[in-house]
């Protein structure tokens, strides 16, 4: 019920938006839609406890062995909440942005929301694939239509990367389905494959899935579409891409890839972890040399997601809890960063350091907000970033590998670099001499203040009391670890 509503509300409101021709009304209507979605997702966490209202099994495509199965589990709750909050923040912060044909813009945004919800909730592999692609199509149009100068080529690159990844995943899904006992796409039958699929199969199937998720996250070396796309897309779409859509990749790892192909994941984890760490360091180093705020945020996102990916493959409970917490926090923080970037771009027409500087003199409130968000991005204690990263580091320390120390050192180096480039960015933009090119820079308006304060409140609340989320995901992480630990006892395991 709740799960279906989460998908249907944005879908229907989104389709309706295409027919509204009044700009103000379009914005109010889509904000209203996100508020309703937010309310439903909150009620799915704290009000409705009965499991039968949280899931739905509809018959659909039964000839192919698929069904419309959606379920709101802890991971879904977390991500749906994040996405609903994220959309609310985005629509509030960009309330005054002007888009040509705003009905199309907001309609597509809501359709993307619907697709995202579907990905988080799908408990059927074919359904997952459907929603996976359905998030892509609106985003393709959003970025190509309302983006920057090089938008068409850049978005096309993004589309091809993602499409290639997802269609390889489809091949993997089909192969797995042909191996299931009851020839169905349901996640339950897929989970049973964990112990029955041969080691060789798991090994190559891993890559079919991993590439799809790695492109989405993105993990080095599949990340090359990302900085360009983030830079060229309209900022509100970039917020969706970087804050919310990267979670699709992580969700794919946590819910699908690692529990189903546990042996494959274990076999390849010492390939994936170094790759992610290389990406982490590499992105941080690049961010240190860049002089465009948007690009720095994009690379910072690559670095953060890479760390989460490492923690997923650490395969222990602490790391898992850290990932889940950080998934939420990263979404909030990165959306906050983009919000400020958007405000600056709207006011000055640039996000390059050369045209900025000393903005704190003109806009003290914005500066304070941005400093807090930046500190959260660095994971300073008492901000939300800290608890998650701390848990992840503890988890990475516990990786069963002779190189665990190196992994931890590399990850820590990434965080130190993160502090360096984030603070550098803050300094170049908000402090120092007031740039001569900046004239008439206004401080935050009411709607922006509202959105930014909400971000800061979330940062502080979750920084001081991360337990709110950890309690929610506790049993999920336990189940996850138990499920993947089964393979320890398999006879085939001894051969690895």
């Amino acid at each position: 019920m709740i799960a279906v509503l989460l998908i249907l509300i944005p879908l229907i409101t989104g389709l309706a938006t295409f027919f509204i021709r009044n700009d103000k009304l379009v914005k109010a209507w889509s904000l209203f839609a996100t508020v309703i979605t937010l309310a439903v997702s909150i009620s799915g966490i704290w009000l409705v406890k009965d499991a039968k209202y949280l899931e739905h099994h509809g018959t659909w495509l039964q000839i192919l062995g698929s069904s419309f199965s959606v379920k709101l589990d802890a991971l879904g709750q977390l991500l749906c909440l994040l996405t609903a909050i994220g959309y609310f923040l985005i629509f509030t912060a960009t309330w005054k942005n002007v888009y040509s044909k705003s009905y199309n813009f907001y309609g597509l945004m809501l359709l993307a929301l619907s697709g995202l919800m579907g990905v988080y909730l799908a408990m059927d592999a074919l359904l997952l694939y459907f929603f996976w692609e359905l998030t892509l199509i609106p985003v393709y149009f959003l970025c190509s239509q309302w983006g920057g100068e090089r938008r068409i080529a850049v978005t096309f690159k993004f589309f091809v990367y993602t499409f290639l990844g997802s269609i390889l995943m489809l091949v993997g899904i089909l192969y797995l389905q042909s191996k299931t006992a009851d020839h169905s796409f349901s996640i339950k039958s897929f989970y049973e494959l964990q112990t029955t699929l041969s080691k060789g199969d798991q090994s190559w199937l891993f890559w079919l899935f991993f590439i799809a998720f790695a492109v989405k996250m993105p993990i080095f070396p599949f990340h090359t579409w990302q900085p360009d796309t983030y830079q060229q897309s309209p900022t509100s779409t970039t917020m969706v891409l970087s804050g919310l859509m990267v979670k699709m990749g992580l969700l794919g790892l946590i819910r699908w890839l690692v529990p189903i192909l546990s042996i494959g994941a274990e076999m390849w984890s010492y390939t994936v972890i170094p790759l992610a760490l290389i990406g982490l360091i590499y992105a941080s180093l690049i961010a240190l040399r860049l002089s465009d705020m948007k690009l720095i945020i994009a690379y910072s996102s690559i670095a953060h997601v890479a760390l989460m990916c490492v923690a997923v493959f650490a395969s222990n409970e602490i790391a898992m809890q850290g990932v889940l917490l950080q998934m939420f926090n990263h979404g909030i923080n990165i959306i906050g960063m983009w919000m400020v970037a958007d405000m600056i771009e709207k006011r000055t027409g640039t996000t390059k350091f050369s045209g900025l500087g000393g903005l704190a003199q003109k806009a003290p409130t914005m500066a304070i907000f941005f400093v807090i968000i930046s500190l959260a991005n660095i994971a300073l204690p008492l901000t939300n970033g800290f608890a998650g990263e701390f848990l992840m580091f503890t988890g990475i320390m516990k990786i069963h590998s002779p190189y665990y120390l190196w992994f931890t050192i590399a990850a820590c180096a990434g965080v130190v670099l993160g502090a360096a480039y984030t603070l550098r960015m803050v300094r170049k933009i908000f402090y120092g001499e007031l740039s001569t090119e900046v004239t008439g820079f206004e401080d935050v308006s009411l709607n922006e203040k509202l959105a930014l304060s909400l971000v800061v409140i979330l940062i502080l609340v979750l920084g001081i009391y991360p337990q709110a989320i950890l309690n929610m995901t506790d049993s999920f992480s336990k189940d996850f670890i138990e499920r993947i630990n089964i393979i320890q006892f398999l006879p085939s395991k001894t051969g690895i």
Binding site: I63, Y129, L134, I137, F141, L170, L174
Partner: protein
């Protein structure tokens, strides 16, 4: 049998209507009425009411698969007429004859979908081909059209020759034209049989425009008047594929180990050549010609896998591909500029039409929620089920990704580019709504394929 006889009779009726009826709209309405009648009688036969009982001595057999395909072909032809019949007026003065030829082609399609004897197959293929040679050259004053017609005729006759020779070889080995006699194998197949089979394979691949027998396709599709290209590339191609799969299922099903690898190689070559060449086209019409080759590559997967999923998937594929391609060609026929630039800024000028084109393009590229996705999905599923062919599946999906690059150029032109000069495209609202029916069918089949699969299981 109902559809066979009525289509032949109605073809003759259409020829006379050109003399008797003065108004073109009357001729057109007569053709549409004939198509509706065909559809009705064919559905009657599907439900067990045959109006004609002709003893074919086992040379034809109207089973459910054949009848459903006939319904599909007639229905697509009906939609085609509703959309494009008006545009045929622009081609030349022999309006009634064009429509008559379409009915004769349908007659051939019914033959090819329900043959049990190689003779009927040959007749069917020829009855389809000869009207097509005429239609290709129907734009008499256009050199390209003439060239295309001649080229098609020469190469087509060559492939017909191959086919006849193949049939003769097989007759020499087995002493019969009936597929039921050809199929059983005692011991090893003779060289004569295998040679015959390969010749048939090549000539069918020619008709299906599979590489390396595809060279006629781009020129012919490009040269023929756009309305007829549309018919050739969709319904006719579908019929060829149905004949192809029936032939290799019923006559050569026991020889799978012989032709499987050949088909796989042809499939890969077709996918590769179709997709890669399409990327470099500047004209949308020519791009669609290559796209039809690449889509044929996907349909070949059904023949490769030769199982239930493959056969049902092929029918769905045929519908999905034909609906989208007929729609695109119908729009193209209204345009003056066939290059991608001709589509520039269409979304601003005709937002509804642009949306419909978007659905067609998304379906052709296999994006979920369209029939195009499900049909590609079934092809992949069938191929995987056939076993040992993962490499083929991977090649196919990589090619599907490449196909995005040329299909999406249409979207990019329509939505994200501005027209330098106003490309005025005038379409009637009736045209738009018929197109909308096509698009709705694509979406409906994409979301509820049970509507379609239900036919097989009641």
């Amino acid at each position: 049998m109902n559809a066979l006889i009525i289509s032949a009779v109605w073809g003759v009726v259409m020829m006379f209507s050109g003399i008797l009826l003065k108004q073109k709209s009357a001729v057109r309405n007569l053709a549409i009425a004939g198509m509706v009648l065909l559809l009705v009688v064919n559905i009657f036969e599907t439900n067990g009411t045959a109006f004609f009982n002709v003893d074919t001595r086992g040379m034809m057999y109207f089973d459910r698969f054949a009848l459903i395909f006939n319904s599909i072909a007639i229905m697509l032809s009906l939609l085609f007429l509703l959309l494009s019949a008006k545009d045929m007026e622009k081609v030349g003065i022999n309006y009634a004859e064009y429509l008559a030829l379409i009915f004769f082609i349908l007659c051939g399609i019914v033959l090819t979908s329900s043959f049990k004897s190689l003779l009927i197959l040959f007749l069917g293929i020829e009855i389809i081909s000869i009207p097509l040679y005429i239609l290709t050259g129907s734009d008499k004053l256009n050199l390209k059209s003439n060239e295309a017609s001649l080229k098609y005729f020469l190469q087509g006759s060559f492939s017909t020759g191959l086919m006849l020779m193949g049939i003769a070889f097989i007759y020499g080995d087995k002493g019969s034209f009936l597929t039921s006699v050809i199929a059983p194998l005692n011991g090893l197949p003779s060289a004569l049989l295998i040679a015959g089979m390969l010749l048939l394979l090549f000539s069918m691949a020619f008709k299906a425009s599979a590489a390396p027998f595809h060279f006629w396709t781009p020129d012919v599709y490009d040269g023929a008047p756009t309305v007829f290209t549309s018919y050739m590339a969709t319904i006719v191609k579908a019929a060829v594929f149905i004949a192809f799969i029936r032939l290799f299922d019923e006559a050569f099903g026991n020889l799978q180990h012989v032709w499987k690898l050949t088909i796989a190689i042809i499939t890969v070559a077709t996918l590769f050549i179709g997709n890669i060449t399409a990327v470099f086209q500047q004209s949308v019409k020519r791009m669609l010609a290559y796209s039809s080759i690449s889509q044929a590559g996907f349909m070949l997967l059904a023949i490769y896998s030769m199982n239930t999923d493959g056969k049902e998937g092929l029918l769905l594929y045929v519908i999905a591909y034909s609906l989208a391609t007929i729609g695109l060609f119908a729009v193209l026929a209204k345009m003056s500029d066939y290059s991608y630039d001709g589509f520039n800024g269409l979304a601003r000028q005709q937002p509804f039409l642009a949306m419909l084109i978007t659905i067609f393009v998304l379906s052709l590229s296999g994006i979920p929620l369209t029939a195009g996705f499900l049909s590609k999905f079934l092809m992949l599923k069938a191929t995987l089920a056939a076993g040992g062919s993962l490499w083929l599946v991977i090649v196919a999906v990589v090619m599907a990704v490449i196909s995005i690059s040329y299909y999406f150029r249409i979207l990019q032109a329509m939505y994200f580019k501005n027209a330098e000069k106003e490309n005025i495209i005038i379409v009637s609202s009736q045209f738009k709504w018929t197109l909308a029916v096509l698009a709705t069918l694509l979406i409906l089949l994409g979301i509820f394929p049970n509507l379609f699969f239900g036919f097989f299981y009641f």
